[in-house]
C-alpha cells in the first residue's frame, strides 16, 4: 500500500540531496554579492519541498495553511521593520 507516497517521498529526498550538493558546490564559486541570496534561494527551495511533501501541506486546507503561513508572515514584519531602521540610519 501507499507505494505512490513512498515514491514521492523518495524523489523528494533525491531532490533535497541535489540541492544540498548545489549549495555546497556554489559556496566555493565566487558569486560576489549574490552569494548569500543564492544560498537562501536554495534553502527556501529545500524548505518548500519539506513543507509540501514531507509535512503534507499540499493536501491541507485553509485553516492549516493559514496557521503554517502565519509564523512567516509575522517574521516578515519583524525583519522588514527592523531592517527599515538599520538600513536607513546613514550615520
Amino acid at each position: 500500500m501507499n507505494n505512490q507516497a513512498v515514491r514521492q517521498s523518495s524523489f523528494t529526498l533525491v531532490a533535497l540531496f541535489v540541492l544540498l550538493a548545489a549549495t555546497i558546490a556554489l559556496a566555493y564559486v565566487d558569486l560576489g554579492h549574490l552569494h548569500t541570496p543564492v544560498a537562501m534561494v536554495i534553502s527556501v527551495a529545500k524548505a518548500v519541498l519539506i513543507y509540501l511533501v514531507f509535512m503534507n501541506l499540499r493536501h491541507e486546507k485553509g485553516l492549516v495553511l493559514l496557521a503554517a503561513g502565519a509564523g512567516f508572515f509575522w517574521l516578515l514584519i519583524m525583519v522588514s521593520l527592523t531592517l527599515g531602521d538599520y538600513l536607513t540610519r546613514h550615520t
Partner: protein
C-alpha cells in the same frame, strides 16, 4: 484496523484537522523563536560582514554537510513512517521511527565533536576567546550566534529524539498501534520542522565565504 474519534469531535476528519492545526500553530511560534535569532544574525552580519566571513571559514564544513544529509535522511524515514502508521505495521513503523532517532543521535555526536574542536581552538566567546591571525571586528559575535543558535537547535533535536524513540516503543508494544497514527503524524511535523531550521542554519554559518578560503 480501527481508528478512534475522541468524544469531543464529530468525526475522524475533524479530529485530524484539529490536531494538525494545533501542531501548526505551535510551529508558527517556533518560527518566531528561531526568527528572533535569525534577525539578530542579519543585523550583526550587516554590521560585521568581514568578521562573519572570517568566523564562518573556521567552522567544519564536512561536519555541517554530513549533518545536513543526516537530518534530510531522518526526515525521509519519518515521512515514510507517517504514511505507514495508519496500516498498523508493528515492525516497519518502529523501525523507521527508531532509525530516524538513531540518525538524530548521530547528528548530536558530530555536533559534539565540532563543539569540542571549536572550544579547543579557543573559538568559544568570552574571556578565553582567541582567534588565529588578525581577527576582524565582529568575529566573536559570529561565534556567539553560532553557539547560541546551533545549541537551541540541538535542544530541539534532543527533544525530537526522545519523542521518536518513545513513539517507536509505544507503537511496537501497543495492542492497537493504529490508534497512535495521529501521534506519528504530529511528531513527524515537529521533526521535519527541526530539519528545516537546520537547512537555514547550515549555509548561514558554514558557507558564507568558502570561496575566499
Amino acid at each position: 484496523m480501527s481508528e478512534y474519534v475522541a468524544h469531543q469531535f464529530e468525526d475522524l476528519e475533524q479530529q485530524r484537522e484539529s490536531t494538525t492545526l494545533g501542531m501548526w500553530i505551535f510551529l508558527a511560534t517556533e518560527v518566531l523563536v528561531f526568527g528572533g535569532m535569525f534577525l539578530a544574525y542579519i543585523v550583526y552580519r550587516i554590521q560585521f560582514p568581514a568578521g562573519f566571513a572570517q568566523g564562518s571559514n573556521e567552522t567544519l564544513i564536512w561536519a555541517g554537510s554530513i549533518n545536513t544529509a543526516i537530518l534530510l535522511i531522518s526526515s525521509f524515514l519519518v515521512a515514510i513512517a507517517v504514511h505507514f502508521a495508519p496500516a498498523g505495521s508493528r515492525n516497519l513503523v518502529p523501525l523507521l521511527l527508531g532509525g530516524a532517532a538513531v540518525l538524530g543521535v548521530a547528528f548530536l555526536g558530530i555536533k559534539a565533536y565540532e563543539y569540542t574542536h571549536e572550544i579547543h581552538e579557543g573559538l568559544f566567546p568570552g574571556k578565553h576567546f582567541h582567534f588565529p591571525g588578525t581577527p576582524e571586528p565582529g568575529v566573536e559575535m559570529f561565534f556567539v550566534l553560532y553557539f547560541t543558535m546551533t545549541a537551541l537547535h540541538a535542544v530541539h533535536v534532543i527533544i525530537g529524539i526522545g519523542l521518536l524513540a518513545a513513539l517507536a516503543l509505544r507503537y511496537r508494544l501497543s495492542r492497537d498501534p493504529v490508534r497512535l497514527a495521529p501521534s506519528v503524524d504530529l511528531t513527524g511535523l515537529y521533526w521535519h520542522f527541526v530539519d528545516i531550521v537546520w537547512v537555514f542554519l547550515f549555509p548561514l554559518f558554514y558557507l558564507i565565504a568558502r570561496h575566499h578560503s
